[in-house]
Structures are given as structure tokens and as C-alpha cells.
């Protein structure tokens, strides 16, 4: 599988293809822990937050919230301990970038967390990793051990007054725990139900203390931001979305993999047809889900010849979202009704059951999809699906509900013929699809 950068110098991926890249000596030989040293050598916590603000780094987990701003929400006068939590519960279908960052470069994550902890006045960091990624927890535990022995984790780091511990924590198979407040409940030993916001975790998070939850890719961007300066990092990308972004490419392309692109890479068609090696078996492109299963599906017609820019604003303009960067390519053999059914089964399985719109809504969506698939669909079923989506979207406790509704809404809108075909087996009436 390909792992590398296109259109820019590799930044987050610059070490991943080195031999023993997960080892401390390799990391240090290649610029590792220099950013931490720079921070401890004379930057104040506010200096660090300002650099991150200047970098225009946006949360890479999916929501794209400006990281520097998130950090600045942590109250300075709160006497409680503060926590930095890394969200490594990567489970958005189509997304696997964090896995390779943690497998190949775990020290980059530890360094990023330590810098975040310094900026926020925290002495404890947790890496919440999905339970299935057990081998990554073993790699992280080993990296933490190495760092501790080298005086980089624990008491008086690098001989300064800064002390900070880093611990791994395991999830146990629940997509919802990627939502930050559900993750915090899970980390407290509870069911992974999301919490009411506000208060936001920055004010009352883990154990009711101020907490920052950041994705792996977000935290691993921090050492480079400190080393090169926020402004230089921002210039790698666009004004509003700084730096580079990792895209997890899967599906019908010749070269799936993890691709690091500058934010604002300006041609999605070239990305698929050249950078990713083109379509598998020379089939025609039918659709792309560019940002993980939760975002709107894009038909080929919205990509080919359209110069779709790959950043937050560019993808919204093209009718979708960056999300987590889980880039799923589908060729002409894929039936979008079937692919959407597959995704809604995922959301039904992963709905935590906490709120009624999502719990009942996703269940009904699956029932209607199954009815259509079994050949017993009714002409009004497409409209029924949209009505159910309308009763979930914006009405559920957390964004999982929206994430379940969006793929269906966009699939029915962009690929009506695939739905029509399944419904037309029964009736000549086209119902909502006319």
C-alpha cells in the first residue's frame, strides 16, 4: 500500500518509510523532539497557542474546528488538573491514516501531546485508541517506555520544571466513542454515550476537569508547526486551512493508500486518475465519498473536468466535505442503493441508543432499505427515507444522527436512477423520484 506525499514535501509522513521509524533513536536522528526542546527552551504556553492559531490548523478528526481556538478555550484560572486526550478511536468508514501515523511514527504523537500539555498546563495525557488497534497500543506503550527512559516523559522533562505523563487507554469497539464527549465517558469507565454540550470539554471534560480532545493527525502536526513557525505551516495550505492533510484512499483505484496533500490541492480528478494510479481494471468512475462515510457522496460528473479543490472550502463548494479524509472511490459496477444500504447498516449498528431520533430513525431506515432490497418496496419509500432522515438530521443528541442522514439524502438526490431501479421492479409509479 502506498504511503507518501504528493504535491508537497512530506511533512507528517516524512519518516514513515524509514526503517524502524517507530524507534526513538530514528525519530531523534530525524528531527524528533526538537520542537519540544524549543518549547521548553523559552516559549511560554501562550506563545505555543499563538503559533498553533497562526498555523490555521483545523481539527483533522472530521469537524475541522480551529485547533488553536480550541486550546484557548481552556480556562487558565481553573484549579482542577487539566487533561490532554488524543482521540485515536479512528473508526469512520474509509479512514485509516491515524493507524499508519501511530504504527510508523508514535513518537511524533507523543511529542505533539507533550507540547499540547505544556501549552495547556496539563500533566496527564491519555491516548484513547480503538480496541481493534491493539497492536498500535503495544507500539505506543513501547514508545512511551523509550521516551520515559530518555527523560522525555515523566518528571522534570529535559531537566526543566515541566512534568507530564502519557498513558495509553483502550476502547472496545464502539464508533460513537470517536465523538469527543462519548470518548470521555468511555474513558471514565462508562457506556460511550455523548454528553450535553455546553459545557464543552475545554471547561468540564474528563472527570469534570478542563480537557482538550484532539485527533491523532491534529496532534502530530504540532511539532512541525513549532519547528517551522505557525505562519510557514499555514502557507503550505490555504489561508483558512493551513498545512497538509492526509487522505486515506480506498476502493476501486490502482494505488490505494495514505496520501499527504497540501491543503487546497486543486484537482481531484488528477488525484484519482494519476496520483492514485487511475481506476482499477480501467473501469469508469461512478462516485467518490471524499471525507469518510458521513459526508455527501459526489457523482463523477461533479468531479471530472471540474477542478475540485481539496480543502474545507473547496469541497463544500463542490457539494461535499473534507470530514476525516476517508476517500472512497467507486466504479461503475457499484449500485449506490446497495452502497448506501451498507452504510446505513453501519450507522444503525453504531447508534448508541441514547436519543430517540437516532436510535429509532436508523432502525427504520434499515428496515425500509431491506424492504426495498427484498423487492417489496413501495413507490413512496424513497420519500419515506427522506422523511425519516429529516426527523433525524439536526434533532439527534450528537452528530451521529446527521452522519447517518447525509449519505442517504445525497445518494437519493445524486443517484435517483439507482433507487428507481429497485423500486421500479414493483411498480411503474416513480413516487418521490420523479
Amino acid at each position: 500500500m502506498f504511503i507518501g506525499a504528493i504535491g508537497c514535501e512530506p511533512l507528517q509522513l516524512k519518516r514513515v518509510n524509514l526503517e524502524n521509524s517507530h524507534r526513538l533513536d530514528v525519530y531523534r536522528k530525524n528531527g524528533g523532539y526538537e520542537a519540544l526542546k524549543k518549547v521548553l527552551d523559552g516559549m511560554s504556553p501562550d506563545d505555543v497557542i499563538n503559533e498553533v492559531k497562526k498555523s490555521a490548523l483545523r481539527g483533522r478528526g472530521g469537524a475541522g474546528f480551529p485547533t488553536g481556538m480550541k486550546w484557548s478555550f481552556v480556562p487558565k484560572d481553573n484549579p482542577k488538573p487539566k487533561y490532554v486526550v488524543c482521540n485515536a478511536d479512528e473508526s469512520e468508514p474509509g479512514t485509516f491514516k491515524d493507524r499508519y501515523l501511530m504504527e510508523r511514527d508514535p513518537h511524533m504523537l507523543i511529542e505533539g501531546m507533550l507540547i499540547a500539555a505544556y501549552a495547556l498546563g496539563s500533566q496527564t495525557c491519555y491516548i484513547y485508541t480503538r480496541g481493534e488497534y491493539r497492536y498500535l497500543i503495544e507500539i505506543a506503550d513501547e514508545a512511551i517506555r523509550e521516551a520515559r527512559e530518555a527523560g522525555l516523559v515523566g518528571e522534570k522533562i529535559l531537566g526543566t520544571n515541566f512534568s507530564c505523563n502519557v498513558y495509553t487507554h483502550t476502547g472496545a469497539g464502539a464508533y460513537i466513542c470517536g465523538e469527543e464527549t462519548a470518548l470521555l465517558n468511555s474513558l471514565e469507565g462508562l457506556r460511550g454515550h455523548p454528553r450535553m454540550k455546553p459545557p464543552f470539554p475545554a471547561v468540564a471534560g474528563l472527570y469534570g476537569s478542563p480537557t482538550v480532545v484532539n485527533n491523532v493527525e491534529t496532534l502530530t502536526a504540532v511539532p512541525d508547526i513549532i519547528k517551522m513557525g505557525g505562519e510557514a505551516y499555514q502557507k503550505l495550505g490555504t489561508e483558512k486551512s493551513g498545512g497538509t492533510k492526509l487522505w486515506s484512499v480506498s476502493g476501486h483505484v490502482n494505488r490505494p493508500g495514505v496520501y499527504e496533500l497540501p491543503m487546497g490541492y486543486d484537482d481531484m480528478e488528477k488525484f484519482i486518475m494519476e496520483d492514485c494510479g487511475g481506476m482499477l481494471n480501467d473501469k469508469k468512475l461512478k462516485a467518490v465519498i471524499p471525507g469518510g462515510s458521513s459526508v455527501y457522496i459526489m457523482p463523477a460528473a461533479d468531479i471530472l473536468g471540474k477542478d475540485v479543490r481539496m480543502d474545507y472550502e473547496g469541497l463544500v463548494a463542490a457539494g461535499s466535505m473534507v470530514g476525516s479524509g476517508g476517500f472512497i472511490v467507486m466504479d461503475e459496477t457499484v449500485d449506490v442503493f446497495e452502497s448506501t444500504k451498507n452504510l446505513i447498516e453501519f450507522y444503525k449498528h453504531e447508534s448508541c441508543g441514547w436519543c430517540t431520533p437516532c436510535r429509532e430513525g436508523t432502525d427504520w431506515l434499515v428496515k425500509v432499505f431491506k424492504r426495498i432490497a427484498s423487492g417489496e418496496g413501495r413507490p413512496e419509500d424513497a420519500q419515506l427515507l427522506l422523511d425519516i432522515c429529516d426527523n433525524i438530521e439536526g434533532k439527534s443528541f450528537c452528530p451521529l444522527g446527521d452522519a447517518a442522514a447525509w449519505p442517504i439524502q445525497s445518494a437519493i438526490k445524486k443517484f435517483p436512477e439507482d433507487f428507481k431501479r429497485h423500486l421500479a421492479r414493483l411498480t411503474e409509479t416513480e413516487g418521490a423520484l420523479t
Binding site: E132, Y135, L190, S250, P256, S293, S339
Partner: protein, 201 residues
Amino acid sequence: MLIAERFIMSSQFTPNNPLPQEAKVPEEIARFSPEVEAEIERHLAKYPPERKRSAILPLMFIVQRERGGYLDPPGVAYLADRLGVRITDIWEVATFYSMINTEPVGRYHIQVCKTLSCKIMGADRITEQCSKRLGIKPGETTPDGLFSLSVVECLGSCGTAPMLQLGFDYHENLTEAKVNELLDRCQRGEYQPTVGVKTSA
């Protein structure tokens, strides 16, 4: 802010909640070797002393590993006792997470990923092949207790699809031949898990 904060605190587990004695399962509480106890201590040490409950998931993995692959009642009683929570608190959490088994599973638990990227790269073929060869449907265990077969949601192996997880090991870029070879090794008792067997640091 204060009201909201109070809401958060009251809606969650309060530390050192006294245990009502009658809630304890009386008959048997699991016992573990000093090595396993040391492993459990290492996990507990990661969290503030009054927040032992945070270790519930890591400890559940250890208990299910030591108790034959699932949380049996003595294992559940152990966890409640060790963490200072009620039996129902343990069940409440155990039933939420898909990797915590509350029923026995086969020695080789084969989990085929079924979500979109794997689906369009041939996941159904892999499931069918396993199902046919083992003579069980997804969700079932072979009568000899050797194999369980499950279809599961996205395991983050989309670029190397189709894939399955066996125990904690990922097997990726699967072909019919690779699956056959893997099942052969299991049936001959030659399959050695590479991940999650040693006591972690």
C-alpha cells in the same frame, strides 16, 4: 456554568460510591495469578486513585482473556470487586462494547469486515468462503468450539481490503488462497497470535 457542571457531575458515576453488600454475587469470584494481578495494577496506576473505574475496559480485556474468552459471572464479580462498583455497572458497560464478549466464543474468532470499502472489494466472498468451509453462519460457533465467525463494521483497513481480524491480528489484502491457508493453520493448531498475548506494559 456551575449548574451545567453540576449536571455533568451528578449524571455520572460518583467515585467511591459505597457498595450495597446485597448486590455482590456471593458464589464465586475469579482469582488470578500474581503476574496477571501485576498487569491489572499497571492499568489501574494510569488513573487517579479515586477514578479506578476508568480501567474498566482494559481490565475487561484481561479478565476475558483469562476466563476463556468471555466475561463469565465469576469474572464479572471480580471486576465489580476490584473496581468498587456494582455488578450491574459491569454489565452495563460490557453490553455496550462489541469487543467485550458476554457469551463464550470460539478459540479462533474470525471477524470479517463488511463495511463499504471492504464490501466493494469483495468482503462478501470472504465471509461466504469462511462460512462454507467452517459450516457455520456469521454469529455462530463450530460445535467443537474452535471457530466463531462474525461480520463486523469498519476496522480501519480500507486501503488493504478485503480483510479479517483473527483475535487481535489483522489479515489484509485477502484472497481465497490466503483465507484457506489461514484456516488450515488454525485447524492444525499451528496459528500463533502475534498481538495482544503478552502482558502489556
